[in-house]
């Protein structure tokens, strides 16, 4: 008996899919910049901060990187509701994503900062620049340019990780497929369609980030050679 593929559910359920895509994108966009900022601050804290701060950050990074995201989300979401803190699934998802992405970003950015030749920092401090000026004008631009591909990959992974948020009833794209499946019993087709949509989103994400690279790194645009 050959299985008859039936994609007709698309005619009826495309609004659900669209809503799912929108929530996926919102979760991703709300988490990228804060995640990057906190991660970069953690990296700087580990390099320049007092020993206790550096140790605390290392502990945080190791904890997050050695436990699954879904456990972190459950801990946060169910934990907060047990404390009678009403928090939306979207908010919990974003907080968990930011905490999670920061830990990975911290390691990526730390590698980026440590790859900058120390001579430049010596020269900058001999030009009477303050530490904050050195970090902002000299270190940050070069670190970001150097690790940009790793950052892009990390943010793509984060977008893919949003698919687990339907476990706390945030109805993103994977949750939409689950919904369609429960109504039409066309699970295979639904998830194939959703897989294709994720593929499209990832391609668009990479395209946008690649284009931003040209904008963010004028030297790259002018010379087309890596740092």
């Amino acid at each position: 008996m050959i299985y008859k593929f039936d994609f007709s559910f698309l005619l009826q359920y495309w609004p659900e899919l669209l809503r799912g895509v929108w929530l996926t994108l919102r979760m991703t966009l709300l988490s990228i910049l804060p995640g990057f900022a906190v991660g970069t601050l953690c990296a700087l804290g580990r390099i320049y901060g007092p020993v206790n701060l550096a140790r605390a950050i290392k502990t945080y990074v190791e904890l997050i990187r050695n436990t699954p995201l879904i456990i972190q989300v459950f801990w946060l979401f169910f934990g907060l509701s047990a404390l009678h803190f009403r928090i939306s699934a979207l908010a919990a998802a974003v907080i968990a994503l930011v905490v999670n992405v920061s830990a990975y970003t911290a390691e990526i950015m730390r590698a980026g900062f440590e790859a900058i030749p120390k001579g430049q920092l010596e020269a900058a401090s001999c030009l009477a620049m303050s530490r904050r000026q050195m970090i902002w004008h000299i270190e940050l631009p070069q670190a970001v340019e150097r690790v940009y591909p790793a950052l892009v990959s990390q943010f793509v992974l984060m977008m893919l990780a949003t698919s687990i948020m339907s476990q706390i009833s945030a109805d993103e794209l994977t949750g939409a497929a689950d919904l369609i499946q429960s109504f039409t019993f066309r699970g295979f087709e639904a998830y194939i369609v959703v897989a294709v949509i994720y593929l499209i989103i990832v391609s668009l994400m990479r395209l946008v980030m690649l284009a931003s690279a040209a904008m963010l790194f004028p030297r790259l645009r002018a010379l087309r050679s890596p740092l």
Binding site: T67, I71, A161, Q181, I192
Partner: protein, 215 residues
Amino acid sequence: MLFNLTPEQFFYIFRGAGWTIVLSMLGVAGGVLLGIPIALARVSRHTWLKRASGLYVQINQAIPLPVTMFVVYFGISIGGYTVPVLVAAALALTVNAAAYLGEIWRGSIESVPSTQWEASESLALSYVQRMQYVILPQALRISIPPTVGFVVALVKNTSYAVVIGMSELTYSSRVVNNTTFQPFVIFTIAAGLYFMMCYPLSVLSLRLERIVRQA
């Protein structure tokens, strides 16, 4: 009663951890078995092999693992087979892991200095002999630290099997939480168990990286 959890509930959670370990090992085994041909195809001289494996990698790296799990799960039942959830989850993990491992190993092969290729070519070795005796042994050494690093990710990825109802650690802790509503205690225990599985591997990966770099 420790932390308001009965011994049965503790045991249930720990049993889930056991299944996590089983699933991880199946995923690693499958990922390695499927990953090797993928990696070889990625560096092959035949363009169609390169393109096909490249497509495989690109697709799998752009789809969330939960979705892969669902596709495999529903795909199998469509084929008319019923398999235990463990098998479906292991299969999905294999498909996913092979893509990432294939890319890691491709990188390792390509980072063997080109001088090695030239030297072995001038010794009139065939392609297969070059790969077997010169390139792959060196690539293997380079590939061990990132591979161990990926195994950490794979252990964490087993938690996605919760979406198809497999009673690994995440599923088990969720079930216990649903009855006892002790999220902080339960999920901290679960996190702790995952940490005990992953952290030693992470440390090992770092240490291996240092060894490989010095040699």
